[in-house]
Structure formats: C-alpha cells, structure tokens
C-alpha cells in the first residue's frame, strides 16, 4: 500500500477545502445578497466546472499556469519557477475545479436565512459583519458542512485536472486517483483494487458524516426559519 499518495491527496484536499472556505464565503455572500442584475453571469461562471470535462478545465489551467500564461509568468517572476507540474499548481487547479461544490451550498443556505432576521439584526444596531457572523453563519451551519465536505471529497477524487496540471510525479503530484490509473495500466489489479477500495470507503465515510449531521439539524431547525 502506497501511503505517500494518500497523505499527498489528503493534504491537497484539506488545503483546497480550507482555501475554498476563505474565498467561498465572501463569494457566496455576494451571490446570495447582491442586488446586481447581471449577477447570474457570475453564478454561471462559478458553476462551469460542474459541466465542463475536467480535461477542458485542466487544459486552460495548464495554459494559464505555464510560463506563457499570465498567472504562470507572474509566479515565475516571483519565485523563479513555473506552477505547472507542482503541488501549488495542483492546489490552484483544484480550487477552481471544486469551487461550485463549496460556493453553491454556502450561497443556498445564506439565501435560505429569513430576511426578517437580518432586518431585525440591522435595527438592533448590528453591523453587516456582525449580522454575518452572529446570525447568517450559525443558521447556515448545514450548508457550511455540506460545502466543506463536498469540496474535500470532490478534490480527493479528481482525476482529469490533476493529470493535466500536475502530471504524475511521486510525492509531488501523484494523487490516489492517478495512482489507481497507473496501477491499472501496469495490470496490477490487486494493487488498484486495494487503493480504490480505501478511497471508496473514505468518500463514503465523509458523505455519511455530512448527511448524518445535517439530518440532526444542529438542534435549531436546519434552514434557520424563524419560529414565530
């Protein structure tokens, strides 16, 4: 059993989920509450990774990260090496790839919070910042858990983007799904089966945890509707 690919995959997934919380929360807030009429265009862009084949996405990320791409050139001038085929490049690609899996549950649960609660918070003098952390976020707990878990699981299982952006460098960019593919190519079915089974169990465990937690509703009625 090759544990190196597992720790690498886990590290990637946790890092990506963490970054997605940081950029996903403000983005989801904006999507849920902005009155801007062209907002749907941004929503469509965020949702693109759901419908695009990972190879298409991976291809563009690779081009952007390469020495001729804008991001790649900037990174090259900053650090002296390119992003393509590095762990950092993998993180960037995975963030884009998993973005909708974090942002959509966040935004849906924000939008589900009763607007009168937000009005009440404002008339009681609370800043938007305080309303967000004191009212919106606690009442969106189920959406947060779902978003984090989905982006974790989704990043762990990705294949196409990783292959395009990261290649297959042991200890740097070789993730579990690449490893499985490799083993199948080498007709090591027993090894592939072992690895695949572990990934299957981890994914199942994460999802079961999410659905279990959300079923319990965190003790105050899930979607955060005011009882009056």
């Amino acid at each position: 059993m090759d544990w190196q690919t597992f720790t690498l995959t886990l590290r990637l997934a946790v890092l990506v989920a963490g970054v997605l919380v940081l950029i996903g929360l403000p983005l989801a807030y904006w999507i849920a509450f902005s009155p801007w009429r062209w907002k749907f265009l941004v929503e469509a862009v965020v949702a693109l990774p759901i419908v695009l084949p990972p190879t298409v996405l991976g291809f563009y990320v690779l081009v952007a990260l390469g020495p001729r791409g804008p991001l790649g050139r900037w990174w090259l001038s900053l650090t002296g090496h390119t992003l393509a085929f590095t762990f950092t490049g993998l993180v960037v690609g995975s963030i884009i790839y998993s973005l909708p899996f974090a942002v959509q549950p966040f935004a849906a649960s924000f939008a589900g919070v009763d607007r009168r609660l937000l009005a009440a918070s404002a008339t009681l003098g609370a800043s938007r910042w305080r309303t967000f952390f004191g009212v919106i976020l606690p009442l969106s707990a189920h959406g947060l858990v779902t978003g984090v878990a989905l982006s974790l699981a989704h990043t762990m299982g990705e294949f196409g983007v990783v292959l395009m952006v990261g290649g297959n460098i042991p200890g740097v960019t070789r993730t579990v799904s690449i490893d499985i593919y490799d083993k199948v190519q080498a007709v090591d079915y027993a090894g592939a089966n072992q690895t695949a089974l572990v990934l299957l169990l981890i994914s199942f465990f994460v999802l079961a945890l999410v659905y279990g937690l959300n079923r319990r509703g965190f003790g105050f009625g899930g979607a955060g509707k005011a009882k009056s």
Binding site: A126, G134, F220, K225, A226, K227
Partner: protein
Amino acid sequence: MGVAHSAAGAVSDASVLSLEVTKHFDAGAAFRLDVAFSATPGIAILFGPSGAGKTTLLDCVAGLARPDSGRIAVGEATLFDRARSIDLRPQQRRVGYVFQELALFPHLSVQANVGYGLDGVSRVERERRCGEVLESFRIAHLLSRKPGEISGGERQRVALARALVTDPCVLLLDEPLAALDAAIKSQIVDDLRGWNALHRIPILYVTHSREEVFALGERVIVLDAGLVIADGTPHEVMTAPRQETVAQLAGFENVLEAAVIAAHEDRGTMTCRIVTGKSAIGLELETPLVRAEVGSKLRVGIRAGDILLAIVEPRGLSARNLIPGKIVSLAQRDVIVVARVECGVEFEVHLTLAARDSLRLGVGSEVWLVVKTHSCHLMASGRD
C-alpha cells in the same frame, strides 16, 4: 442615553416623530403610499385593512425601505431627508422594531436575543439593562430557553424586550399581539404602557383589529390604500366617522378584497373570489348583485356577529356560503366569544358563551362558517 429618556413624563419636541413620506409600492395592484403626520410620546395606532401600506410605512421609518421622497425625523435627529440626501442606515437610527413575525434569532437563548442590541455596552451594564427589561416584561425565568421552546405570548414579550432594551427613540410594533388571546394581550399592553410611562417615546402600533384600536388607542390614524383617511381619538374616528371609508372599515370586523367572477342577473346575485395580497385564493362568496363589471375589484364586509358556526357540514340551508375552516384562537370578551377562523383568509366570528360550550369549540376545531348572501356587504375597493 438611557438617562435622557427616563425623565418621566417630560414631553418635549426632542421626542416627537414627524414624517412625510411618499413611496410607490407593489402589493397586488401597484399603488402609492403618501402620508404625513407627527406622533408625540405615547401609543399612536395605525389602523387599516391589510395591504393599506402600514408595514411599508414602518419599514420606511426603520430604514428597511427607502421612500421616494419626503422626510422622517425624531426631534432634532433627521433619519431621512430626500431633499438633503440624508438616509441613515437602520443601524444608526435607534428605532425599535417588533416585526409581525417577531424574527427572534432561533439559535440564540432568550438572554442572548434580548442582549443582542447591546453589543457596544459593557458586560455589567448589559446585564443590568437586560435584567431590568426582562423583569418588567416578566420573562426573567426564561433566560436560557430558545425561542422555539417558549409559548407564543412569551415570544411576544421577548421580542418587545429585545427592541426596548436598546433604549430606542421611537418604537414600531407591527401587529405584535394579533395571534394572542385577550387575557394575555391586555397583560402585555399594560406592561408596555408601564414601560412607556417611564420612557416617553412615540410608539407606532399597527393593527387591523378594531378591538385593539379601542383597547389601546389614545390616537388612531386610519390608513387606506396608502393614504391617511382619518386621524383622531378612537371614539371620534371609529364611532362617529366623517369619512365613508372609515365607517365601512370600522363597521365590519371582516373586510376582504375580492374580484367579481360572475354575475347572475336572474338570481340577483354575484360570485366573488377573495383576493389576499397578490394572489387569489380558492375561496368564493355569493354576494348580492350590484352594478359591477366581471373582473372588477371590490370589498366585501361581513360583520363578525352575522356569521354562523357549525361543527358538521350543514345541509338544507338557505344560506349560500359555506366555508370550511379551522379555529386558530378563541378569546372571551365580556359575554361574547371572539373566534378567529382560518379559511385561507382569517375570519373573525362572534358567538355566545353558550354556543362555544355546547359545540365544544376549541383551538384547532374544524368548523364550517355559514354566511347569508345578504350578510355580504359590498363596497368600493380601496385600490383602483
């Protein structure tokens, strides 16, 4: 801040709410809110049928809706002035607002709900002020409960306490007691009056219940289709109305917006469909025939005492309107019982104590309302 307001009884210009507001709004047919009045410390009632613009007006005062033009001020402090481009955010207005749906934070305890508006205040001061207001609204024993775990009356008290503890310069109450029975209602009103005697601020109290107007009012402002159509003491306005519309609103406990869907010339009747807010519900009434086009809007007034209640579907009656519903509250007032019955719209029905007891009516009972065609009084709609 608290000290300035607790100088008991001292009425000065500093605490008068003056407002002058116009705003287009869309509730059913688009129409225009256009009101101007001022309110001194004490309770001023905003009375009118649903959709008259009462909640929109409160939202304008609180800063949750923006008027098209006008000015809103409390004493020296200007909250909104279109001409001078002043529009304070809700956070800066010091307006206490108790919403119709209360909007208590479901994830916070009673204590955290009440203390929510005292964020910038020191812990000691916060506990002192919370303790005081919890005491005066008799909810000190509920501190650690969540809103979902207390009764309806207790939730109303918590919502009031939460708004009042911030020491607002004006208080807005949007039908805060509509869902409560009479005994609890009058207790809460007494507590509110007690508080208001110490903290002399204007209170705008929205209701569409005629009963509450008499129970509460020093002054009543009648709003219909966005306009102030009467202003005075409840006695002046409700019992000796100078305006036809007020008389109509005041004379009927049930005033429903309706649209004519068919006229039966041969039978001398019409069929009207009840409309609430934007949508028509599946409730139709047979009313007397008047000269009105099919599709036109009008109002149907039904006196609470003209409605019969039955506990099984009645048969063989001459009355043409049978409406199934469910009792949502029962309250005794002197020798009559006031029942509120949910039938898609809520009806108020008056019956005798004997009738309540012999029919064994209670909250949740399934009932049939019986309304004679000629108990449906047609009036011109407030909306054009």
